[in-house]
Amino acid sequence: MQTLIQKVVEPLVSQSAQVCPFLIQKITLEKLLSQVFALEIADGDLDCLANRYLKVYVKDLNIGWRITLNGNHVQVERLGGDADVTISGNAKEFALLVSRQEDPDTLFFQRRLTIEGDTELGLEVKNILDALDHENLSFPLKQLLESVSHVSRFIYAA
């Protein structure tokens, strides 16, 4: 059952992500990230990303983005191009991370996540993500996280 879902759901997500025009991905992600990190941006915690690029690469779906901070908002760029630090893993790993079901160090020890480039920047971003208080998120965002959590539990429960 699970493998069946994996066989059906993943290619579907992958294809729709690849078909979905970059501009739509960009607008959606920028809006989402700027909202999620509003407090952190105001506090200057995300300054580490000013003029610097974090690349997130989802290997099995072959999608990814380069993320930077431009003034007061998060900017998302196409994968091609330089990045200061690159974090890569499969969709499963990212889903588990975002929904706080797994710890990044655990995934890193198990070789399911890789960090290349400026380790300090990668670590800082990880720590900022960890420090994000989900209770402060708006209701729709909380719901979104809940569904990622449910869906990943369902698909990937092992």
């Binding site: 580490c48 990044p104 160090d105 020890f109 380790t119 670590l123 720590n127």
Partner: protein, 331 residues
């Protein structure tokens, strides 16, 4: 025994409290604590929120000010003590004698715990810290065998806390300069072993290469579990043989020893990992809470359950655990 749990961020602190911690420990955002990493730890606003959350739920809060004050930054260490006192924390975890003296003179009512970095390994050392700085508790170094812990506990003038779980740091605590040797920074002086700015990972055809200040310290082949990029856990060539000459990437796990530690009179168990995420904190605190509760009922019949050991191994460095020095009969 009291369960003392790590918190590197507010969400980690909240899950520790919700998962059954009796006490949580945290640090400020500077080099006054031994987990000084970018983005980690508490500013004043977050520290206040943390305290409110924990105290409301009858969980104690300790603040680690456990690095060695450097001549240039002495004010920072003083301010950290002042800030912790003003916040109303339950205790400070301190290693440096200068900081201990400052705290005990200025705030005689503030509880002081000797940090593991203070490296007091016998009752005479404990007596010294107790007499001079009035410490109420000491965290014992992870270099002691169980027999040595028992011996120290027999005559200790203060309560004792020992490490129950977490990444293993093998060296005489507070005295390891391996990190300094390669990067010029060490946990005692700068608050970080192998500071992230000196770490580089590269995925190559031969595996993941881990470098510290350009020195190759390990290469993990396909399928091999990895550890933290600390010099002590690297693989080195000794007499033409390449291996983990000092220590393997591994985590300490003493679930099995709960009855013996309790019988020895140990008052608290510390879980390591302020650098880890809320997901880790939740998993380890839940297991240890269940284990301590089970021990309270089962006493002599207590045995760790398979599922506890599995979840702890899963989040461990190198994905394996050890009893560490506790089980070294030759000591």
């Amino acid at each position: 025994m009291e369960l003392v749990c790590p918190a590197g961020s507010l969400p980690a602190l909240k899950v520790a409290v919700d998962s059954g911690a009796d006490a949580v420990y945290m640090g400020f955002k500077d080099d006054t604590n031994a987990r000084h990493f970018a983005g980690l730890n508490f500013n004043d606003r977050k520290a206040k929120q943390a305290l409110d959350y924990a105290i409301d739920r009858q969980v104690k809060v300790f603040v680690a000010i456990n690095t060695y004050a450097q001549p240039k930054g002495w004010k920072r260490w003083q301010e950290a003590v002042d800030r912790a006192y003003d916040l109303g924390v339950n205790a400070l975890i301190v290693a440096d004698m200068g900081v201990l003296e400052y705290a005990c003179n200025k705030y005689p009512d503030l509880a002081l715990h000797l940090s593991v970095q203070g490296s007091a390994t016998n009752h005479e050392a404990l007596k010294f810290y107790h007499q001079h700085f009035g410490i109420r508790r000491a965290v014992l170094p992870r270099v002691l065998s169980l027999a040595q812990v028992k011996l120290a506990a027999e005559k200790s003038p203060v309560d004792l806390e020992v490490f129950g779980f977490g990444s293993l740091c093998i060296m005489a605590e507070g005295r390891c300069y391996l990190s300094s040797y390669v990067t010029d920074e060490s946990p005692n002086t700068c608050g970080a072993c192998s500071p992230a700015k000196a770490v580089r990972w590269e995925e190559t055809a031969e595996g993941r290469e881990s470098r510290l200040n350009n020195v190759l310290i390990d290469r993990y082949r396909e399928g091999e579990n990895a550890g933290y990029p600390t010099l002590c856990k690297g693989r080195f060539k000794v007499d033409d043989h390449v291996y983990n000459a000092l220590e393997e990437p591994t985590s300490l796990n003493t679930l099995r020893l709960i009855p013996e530690l309790s019988a020895a009179g140990v008052k608290a168990i510390k879980l390591e990992g302020r650098q880890r995420s809320p997901a880790y904190v939740e998993q380890i605190v839940r297991v240890w809470r269940e284990a301590l509760d089970a021990y309270a009922i089962e006493r002599d019949n207590f045995a760790p359950r398979g599922e506890w050991l599995d979840s702890l191994s899963k989040v461990s460095e190198g994905t394996q655990t050890t009893l560490g020095a506790y089980s070294r009969p030759w000591q």
